[in-house]
Amino acid sequence: MSAFAAVIARELRLSIRTGGDVLTLVLFFVMIGVVVPFAVGPDRDLLARLAPGVVWIAAFLSMLLGLDRLFRADHEDGTLILLRHADLPFSAIVAAKVIAHWIVSAVPLIVASPLLAVMLALDGAAFWRVVLSLLVGTPALAALGAIGAAVTVSIRRGGLIAPVLILPLAVPVLIFGVGAISTGPGPDLSGSALLFLAAISLITLALSPFAAALAISSGED
């Protein structure tokens, strides 16, 4: 097994055995979907119109809340220093961690999204657009989040600073993510929104490992 795959395998194994973190985020995600119908009332049309926004806010917040575990534990037990002397370039290791982070924090949300679709009275076609837009957009959140987590990793108890730092950068993801789900009013632009979302994901995924690796290296001194 290559070193790259070893990093991903280790991250997955750790999060499966720890378990609690992933479940908490999924519950948080579902909870937002449960709370909104109570807050806005049982108007099915209104709920269906709000649904794209609510789903993305739920996904957005759950992914940002889970950021801290990306580098913190490795920083505290000294693993992060040693990872810099691996055979693999450090930015490749960061890339592997970002991919693993996406698998453990975004995939469970996508799996849980049918629950939200029921709560928010989404019809079948809209539901598949939700799944597609989450699938395409969440890698950008994971990649941006990695930069935030890397910048704040040397700050003790800096857990919630990373989401605040990343929030403004992640707003385009939110805009195009919602755009890729909602079809009206006006002409249907969900297709082009989805393409924009894909472009954002690809660019951030390509750049963030380098930025995050640099942030970690310079933060150590």
Partner: protein, 211 residues
């Protein structure tokens, strides 16, 4: 270790090196050089900059002044050093063997096999145990096993004997001896006596707080 790997010629030398953390110099004007088969022991009271010097040599902290060089290495050799710091970098929830296997895969399985390394450091009976249950001394041994599974010429050891029992001190001495036999280089900061078989191979750098 059964196999003897001979490392290529390598020399670590420092010239007027100043190290410190957060812009404050801890040690200045350090001059030393270490060749194949030699061990440099860093000694001195707490807070004198031993750990910082090791971090600087590992490339994690930037030197404040002067410099150091690794001569004889080419870019194709890949990473040349193992750093073994205060923190053991052991993951609870992974077994002892899984922890070690991960490092073997990441750093290249160029040294001893994982099980063989565990036997050398005396942890083979807990190979399947969750590493979170290891005692401090056992954790230290596992951290040392990481040096064995990937062969790299330069070892930077920060308090390698911390939390180890007397048998563990002998173990560290044996490991360093074997590494020097194979043509490796060791820079170790320690308060405990490490006395390899051949005293000629050991140099000591006494660091005093020259403020």
């Amino acid at each position: 270790m059964t196999e003897r790997q001979v490392f290529g010629p390598l020399a670590l030398s420092a010239h007027a090196l100043a190290v410190g953390r957060g812009g404050i110099a801890l040690a200045q004007g350090l001059e030393f050089s270490v060749q194949n088969g030699k061990c440099l022991l860093l000694r001195g009271p707490n807070g004198v900059g031993k750990s910082t010097l090791l971090l600087t040599l590992a490339g994690i902290v930037e030197a404040l002044d002067g410099g150091f060089s690794l001569d004889g290495a080419t870019a194709e050799d890949g990473p040349l050093l193992h750093y073994c710091g205060h923190r053991n970098a052991i993951k609870p929830r992974l077994s002892v063997l899984e922890n070690l296997d991960f490092w073997a895969q990441l750093n290249g399985p160029t040294g001893a096999a994982s099980l063989e390394a565990l036997e050398t450091i005396g942890l083979e009976h807990v190979a399947g145990l969750d590493a979170g249950y290891l005692s401090a001394g056992q954790g230290r041994r596992l951290a040392l096993a990481r040096l064995l599974v990937s062969a790299r010429p330069l070892w930077l050891l920060d308090e390698p004997t911390a939390a180890l029992d007397t048998e563990g001190h002998d173990l560290v001495t044996r490991l360093i001896d074997a590494h020097l036999d194979a043509g490796g280089l060791v820079v170790a900061a320690t308060h405990d006596p490490i006395t390899p078989a051949d005293p000629n191979r050991v140099e000591t750098l006494v660091m005093a707080g020259g403020h």
